[in-house]
């Protein structure tokens, strides 16, 4: 009986967990923050976001956000100095008024940049919130949806360190 109870509790847990996926989450959870490079086919040579991102010989992190998340991410990046030392950083906003920032912020209303960096579409089909990591050869090695990325820059740094 106790094992059956455990099975029932875990079953309910899985269902509740699935029901609580947010509109910004990846429809396929396996691709959301998988934690390792080259999890899926990614673009070899993505376009420039800014003149220096990406740059040959340097790693780069390109964040993709919607206007509602942009200011929070920019503030988090300002507070976190570690990531800036590991890679060049840029933020791509899907629209609205660009926040004042020390890191370059560019506009991508059409979603072309996000697609070019291999970002997947979230459950609501809108602009993805997450980031892509480019290695020093200019190849995208990691692209993931992460609606809470502003609170998880340490995790981004871990991925960047693993990127050549």
């Amino acid at each position: 009986m106790i094992w059956l109870t455990a099975v029932a509790v875990l079953g309910v847990g899985v269902v509740v967990s699935r029901a609580s996926y947010g509109p910004l989450d990846d429809p396929n959870q396996a691709y959301q923050r998988p934690g390792f490079l080259d999890a899926s086919p990614l673009p070899a040579h993505p376009p420039q976001v800014t003149p220096t991102v990406p740059s040959p010989g340097t790693r780069a992190v390109v964040f993709f956000v919607r206007p509602a998340e942009a200011q929070g991410l920019v503030d988090a990046l300002r507070a976190d100095t570690g990531l800036g030392r590991l890679a060049r950083v840029a933020v791509v906003d899907s629209g609205g008024q660009l926040p004042a920032s020390a890191v370059p912020v560019v506009l991508d209303r059409s979603g072309g940049l996000a697609r070019a960096y291999g970002m997947r579409s979230p459950i609501d089909g809108g602009y993805p919130v997450g980031y892509a990591v480019v290695d020093s050869n200019g190849r995208v090695r990691y692209a993931t949806i992460d609606p809470g990325v502003a609170q998880r820059l340490t995790e981004v740094a871990t991925i960047v360190r693993a990127t050549p």
Binding site: G13, Q29, G35, F36, L37, G148, R152, T154, I159, A162
Partner: protein, 423 residues
């Protein structure tokens, strides 16, 4: 043993492991939840648990007995499966493809259906395990066969050791005495005998397992807990047991007195009596470290022969704690058992026995003699609880007298004293 009784024992056995396992898993789940990654917790839990269940099923199929700590297997396999996540969050090491050695840590996410599929695999693995256990219990003979040492020729004498000991406890006495066929089992749950986790380890359970080993007309010699079981055995099979020798019998007036006396024996005994989780943890730690701890036992208990000291670690928490509680503390009145047995009884006791004070046995003997029961008390002056080890001559003499003529032996003196035991 009734089904209800077995079920209640089973229930007690399950509570602590479940509490510990659920606490650990809740902690791990919280870690993932804080990282917004509960999906990963579910996947790795189902994968780890499924592998653990498959291994447990295969292991119990091979050994024909259930795995001792199933929840520990499940939790350990889960931690192994999720280990790269601990490296990621704890040390900042990203995942690499070789980390698939941790039960396919990376690729398990990419199968169709993902966590739902793994949930299905988990349910199948658990069903297979439970069905196999059910089958195993239905075909397994009960009671399990005990490990038995036998020596000598002559009338049968069955030796029942005390709590935590084994048949090897009787080695010194066997070398000192003779003229009989010695039959010394390791009690259920002790020494090299089976230690089934579903056994109740009460007197009824022990007697069921001893039943096939007691020939008609046997003299039964019991030490301490074994003495209680010897009396219970004679009561259960009146006529089959010819006489009893009860060495160091723990004769307590009631369960409270028994609990107090046992508590005085040391920290571990006190923890066991109080059913403390610390006692449980210490016992399990000793089992985990078994190969290291067993050789050290003679250093910890230098006053005992090394093989006897080593055997004090060859039991499980269940067998030890339940036997202590169900046989020693919750013992039935020994005088009633002896009366029902209707056989001569010699009590052999040390005057300096701390574990089972002499006064308790004196009271039992006096009560029995008052109503004319054929009993006799032999007191070894200065002797402690381990008379069969330290004064085997005293025990051998009592046994020899009984074998020669059981009735005459108990009638020749109501209380005899032997000399001071050498220390």
């Amino acid at each position: 043993m009734s089904v209800e009784h077995r079920a209640s024992q089973l229930h007690r056995a399950r509570v602590w492991p479940w509490l510990v396992a659920v606490t650990i898993e809740a902690g791990l789940f919280t870690l993932y939840q804080l990282e917004g990654a509960r999906y990963h917790w579910f996947v790795h839990f189902f994968v780890g648990a499924s592998v653990a269940l498959a291994v447990m099923t295969a292991w119990s199929w091979r050994t024909r007995r259930p795995v001792a700590h199933p929840l520990a297997w499940v939790v350990a396999a889960h931690i192994y499966a999720m280990f790269p996540d601990l490296l990621f969050d704890g040390v900042g090491i990203a995942h690499h493809r070789w980390m698939n050695v941790f039960l396919g840590h990376l690729w398990v996410h990419f199968i169709p259906g993902q966590d739902l599929t793994w949930y299905g695999v988990f349910v199948v693995a658990l069903s297979a395990y439970l069905l196999w256990l059910d089958h195993l219990r239905s075909v397994q003979t009960y009671p399990p066969t005990l490990k038995v040492e036998q020596w000598g020729q002559g009338p049968p004498v069955v030796f029942l050791h005390g709590l935590g000991a084994s048949s090897r406890y009787w080695g010194t006495l066997a070398r000192t005495s003779g003229g009989y066929r010695g039959i010394a089992p390791d009690l259920l749950g002790f020494g090299r005998s089976p230690k089934p986790p579903w056994a109740s380890y009460d007197a009824t359970c022990h007697i069921e397992s001893l039943d096939p080993l007691v020939p008609q007309g046997a003299v039964v010699v019991g030490h301490s807990t074994g003495a209680i079981l010897a009396a219970a055995l004679a009561e259960s099979f009146p006529g089959r047991v010819r006489a009893l020798v009860l060495i160091g019998l723990p004769g307590f007036a009631d369960a409270d007195e028994a609990r107090q006396a046992v508590s005085r024996l040391g920290l571990l005994a006190r923890l066991t009596v109080k059913a403390s989780p610390l006692g449980w943890a210490a016992c399990h730690l000793a089992h985990v470290l078994g190969p290291l701890v067993v050789p050290l036992a003679p250093l910890v208990v230098p006053e005992l022969p090394s093989e006897v000291a080593s055997d004090y670690l060859r039991h499980t928490w269940l067998s030890y704690s339940r036997t202590l509680k169900e046989v020693v503390i919750a013992q039935r009145a020994v005088d009633e058992m002896v009366l029902a047995a209707r056989c001569p009884v010699v009590f052999v006791h040390g005057s300096a026995d701390r574990a089972a004070p002499l006064a308790g046995v004196r009271a039992i003997v006096a009560k029995l003699q008052e109503i004319g029961a054929p009993v006799r008390l032999v007191v070894s002056e200065g002797g402690d609880h381990q008379l069969a080890l330290r004064r085997p001559d005293v025990v051998a003499a009592a046994l020899s007298d009984l074998l020669a003529s059981p009735g005459a032996s108990v009638e020749k003196a109501s209380e005899a004293s032997s000399g001071r035991a050498p220390r």
